[in-house]
Symmetry: C2
Subunit: 359 residues, 2 copies
């Protein structure tokens, strides 16, 4: 699971989106922040090497613009001169900086320069495993929003065993209106259909009960709006539905979304910690646990962000995906792949249509 | 964990509390709703039999007024004539009824009659494993609030391995003010100290980040209020802190609290379901799982509500505890015991003092 901090998104001028999407049979050019992530740039370069080792034709069509410290990234460019362009930068926005201030001050940071490359049409999409708040702020200010979208949202795919669910907003917008929530649901519906391949996504509103008259006044207002405007609206989703496979998309405000994701992340970590404690508590348990080890590791991996690779920021004029700060090489590889897929599917254009259709 | 539905609490006249608490060396008279719970009345009677089998002097000082269908409960009264009084009722408020309407219409329900017995001073405290919303509504309207308390809250004890945490509000108040949240924190602090025995409870505000300037405008306003008014305020708690043992009390609104508890409940159920699936997937796994069975069952039990027995409703003029609808006999037993403990500790009086001290 991917909890994200509140990035204090600012409104920004809206952009037209046509220049930022590419037909699916053409190469995709993904701008990659080489400096994003706890173990960057090394882990980013490792992820790219893994991606380039793939023989899948779609993977082979991915081109990169690598943005970051020249001395660190140029060797990889020399190894793959046909697939990598380098844009050297001298600054890095860290996880602990105030996003708006950092984006304003660090003009030569990999985040800011990377977003400018997309805005100028030199790249189609942007991937970073750096500061979520920094990326959200830079992308919103520089790349801009899809016309009609009031607030971009962070989507997070919860990899539940009985069916993944897209939860949004996962932390970009702590104070929301009914209109924002309606747009989150519409954007999530597009993502589930186009990127996750769910033909008719079941869309829910996160609430404290099933009935239309449950919950806060805002939730009750939004229920009525969603019933009228979201094709796949399937009613209120409760907290238990986040791990039950009963919905494909669950819309909520960024305050609730962030807290519930972090609670689930903490609970998974805590439970596996307790299991490990049990497994090491005696010789007979150690022997039994050794038999189960592979299956349990597979379950843990399934619940881990590594398999997903990143949280898409929806509502921006180009495809932008943010990887978890603790991403390993596999997460970087799958994150860049997810970014390319989002660009190929014309997500910003489809979101523009979905939002426009609802006034 | 104990998720609770939103009971649509109504404001009510406040009450003085002195008649509803008892000195710790006197018998406690707990009013028990015999009709509350999915398996009531049978499971309630079983729980009482277990409680009465205890030789602990404090348990032996618990007297009951059993409220419900006469034919079901009179046999138990005949078995324990010195410890049980019976008040016969003819109606039951179910989980699926609208709380306010049901409390208004069903004057001869066990919930309504039970609350009246406490209000009239015939019992000291009230326990029900029935509808949380119904109990909250009946208790608020009939027993009344502690003077100065704006809204009663449902507290839930999350039995995390590294230390239990009291989360409130767990669903009574979906729309809150800064003042309500401040009072939730103050009430939770009293509960952790007096009932859970934590000398200096660490009190947190559930939020999306650690820093004072994180989160919704409401959360930022409440942070400042808590810093000035809550002795044990230890800053913002994130979702991961719900299972980390880093706080003793975490205050939030009933919307977020309900959703996060249900998410954790769903995740625990889902993970143990996946573990069971792994354990039965092959003969060698079955053999290994048999070795680990007792330890894993102990972990599952530890995370289960059975060991806790109920959610106290804080801010009412008498001690009221609501058991989980799916309570077994052990949960009923421990729930009645927790209700008696809360009454012995003068919780309503202590909450009145705590709230009055903060103006």
């Amino acid at each position: 699971m991917t909890p994200h901090n509140n990035p204090e998104t600012q409104p920004s001028p809206t952009q037209t989106v046509s220049s930022h999407t590419v037909p699916s049979d053409e190469p995709v050019k993904v701008v990659v922040d080489a400096m994003g992530g706890d173990d960057a740039p090394g882990v980013v370069l490792d992820g790219i090497r893994q991606l380039f080792a793939s023989t899948d034709p779609l993977d082979a069509s991915i081109q990169l613009i690598l943005v970051g410290a020249a001395d660190a990234i140029e060797p990889l460019q020399l190894a793959y001169p046909d697939r990598i362009d380098v844009v050297a930068t001298t600054e890095v926005i860290t996880m602990n900086e105030h996003p708006a201030a950092a984006v304003k001050q660090k003009k030569d940071s990999s985040l800011v320069v990377g977003c400018h490359l997309v805005r100028e049409g030199k790249g189609d999409a942007f991937f970073s495993a750096g500061s979520t708040g920094g990326a959200m702020t830079a992308a919103t200010l520089i790349i801009g929003r899809v016309r009609g979208v009031r607030r971009p949202a962070i989507a997070t795919v919860i990899p539940a065993p009985k069916g993944s669910v897209v939860l949004l907003d996962a932390g970009a917008n702590t104070d929301v209106t009914a209109e924002y929530l309606l747009q989150f649901a519409a954007m999530g519906e597009v993502y589930a259909r186009e990127v996750m391949g769910v033909a008719h996504p079941r869309v829910g509103l996160l609430n404290v009960g099933e009935e239309a008259n449950k919950g806060s006044q805002l939730a009750q207002d939004v229920y009525a709006l969603m019933a009228d405007n979201i094709a796949g609206f399937a009613g209120n989703a409760e907290g238990t539905d986040l791990f039950r496979g009963s919905f494909d998309v669950i819309a909520t405000d960024g305050f609730t979304g962030n807290i519930v994701l972090k609670a689930m992340e903490g609970l998974v970590a805590g439970l596996f910690g307790e299991l490990k404690h049990i497994f090491y508590s005696s010789t007979k348990n150690k022997l039994a646990a050794a038999v189960l080890k592979n299956d349990l590791s597979a379950l843990k991996d399934q619940l881990d962000i590594e398999a997903i690779g990143g949280a898409p920021l929806l509502g921006l004029a180009a495809s932008v995906v943010i990887g978890h700060g603790s991403s390993g090489a596999l997460a970087i590889e799958s994150g860049i792949r997810a970014t390319a897929t989002a660009a190929r599917q014309h997500l910003p254009e489809l979101i523009a249509s979905a939002v426009a259709a609802r006034g």
